[in-house]
Subunit: 268 residues, 2 copies
Amino acid sequence: MKSHEMKDEGQGDLNVPRRNLLVGAGALAAGMLLTKAGGLLGTAQAKAQAITETWPWPYVKLDPDETAELAYNEWYRVYCGAGVFSSIFSQLREKVGEPYTLIPIDAFIFLEGGMVGWGTICGSNAGANLVTNMIIGPRTAGSDDGMLMGSEIMQWYSDTQLPTYKPKNPRISAEIPTTISNSPLCHVSVGRWMKATGKHLGSDERRDRCARVTASVAHQTVTLLNQWHDGKYRTKGTIPAASYGIQTQHNCTSCHGSNVPMPPMAKR
Amino acid sequence: MKSHEMKDEGQGDLNVPRRNLLVGAGALAAGMLLTKAGGLLGTAQAKAQAITETWPWPYVKLDPDETAELAYNEWYRVYCGAGVFSSIFSQLREKVGEPYTLIPIDAFIFLEGGMVGWGTICGSNAGANLVTNMIIGPRTAGSDDGMLMGSEIMQWYSDTQLPTYKPKNPRISAEIPTTISNSPLCHVSVGRWMKATGKHLGSDERRDRCARVTASVAHQTVTLLNQWHDGKYRTKGTIPAASYGIQTQHNCTSCHGSNVPMPPMAKR
């Protein structure tokens, strides 16, 4: 479903008239040449800005297994969100250069633990969305594929026995059980795995499980980006808010049980 | 609480030996001069990368009210996450220039609706964390203040009657009631407000409420960044995962009711 088709769904936030915003974005890019004080920004600055705000970014196909192994090892340096991001951007820095060299990979470490340990969105999902939206671009730049690919990855994450990826060079020898999270949230994903395994948060197994989940999401992200690069990407991503009258995931009963509140709905 | 003090809390993810990582980050920055193929990246690229991966970034104090008004209006263009980000970065692009000019503001539109309409972390919280962590830097670069300021903002967001900010030039004339979310999540924050007001997701009031929440978070973020710039920032931010043996927010009963599961804990 395209975001610009959703005006009648009561969605609101996800309903930007694309052409207006294309004009807006273009005007912004041009306008940034002039500072408020009326001076001209340096040409190098203007050029760099144009590079990072022109979509889609140049992309070359990456090997999903190599990317996953990088992500697995990067988890032990920068954790889930920055791990997914780094595994893809570090390769594209080498193979493409700009604009990938301009983005500070390590700035995304805070995504760990569902954002600074708050257990909200799993960092690997946030990292995947950052990657797809930076490369393909925001929906205002001509394609909904960046956001819908991010949404597709969150649904895949929720429905899949994770981790799917087994590292070539695992850091621990123990078998890592898999679980289905039914949610894109760190707290639910880690909690269900801990309940199934009896392993505590600081255990080597829990840590390696999250490193492997990070690798699994990086693998999936590159698999979809490669399809997109070949012109073969047909999204399975949806915008759940369009169906329920509130921003939400698709399985209300997973948290609410049998007592799901009904949001106020627009009169039709 | 400092992340490097948390080894014994069973935290794991939020426990990076800082000095090791400083060496790692330095080595990465230097190493990026050499591509895998052995060639040298262009000097301009290496320089730009050094600029975005050297922390803290140059910051000048911003006016919280002006920032909030910018964020309020940007919500109607790019919504909550990119709205907070844009209100701060657009000013710093003009007042400072690089590295702010190098980051693609509109790439963060996907944060809307709790990430592509999934209702997870409220985009304004995600946007605030992106801002504080890009400017102050990740905890591996010498200070925990970026992540702890982000955490402090999430706690403030959860505990405060929002929105706090009233726009100078409101888009609608209706009074906008305030509510306390008890959560940093979009779904809970919007849901509680909709329940209290009976307004549906696509209503002008709900949309303006979220624009004002975005403005409120931008105001709070700049207030704290200004304190930090003056050397007066003393964080109230915590890492909830350290207290509960799982990544989570501080109020388990808000979702779980009286039946809060206990995560497996490490033997002491």
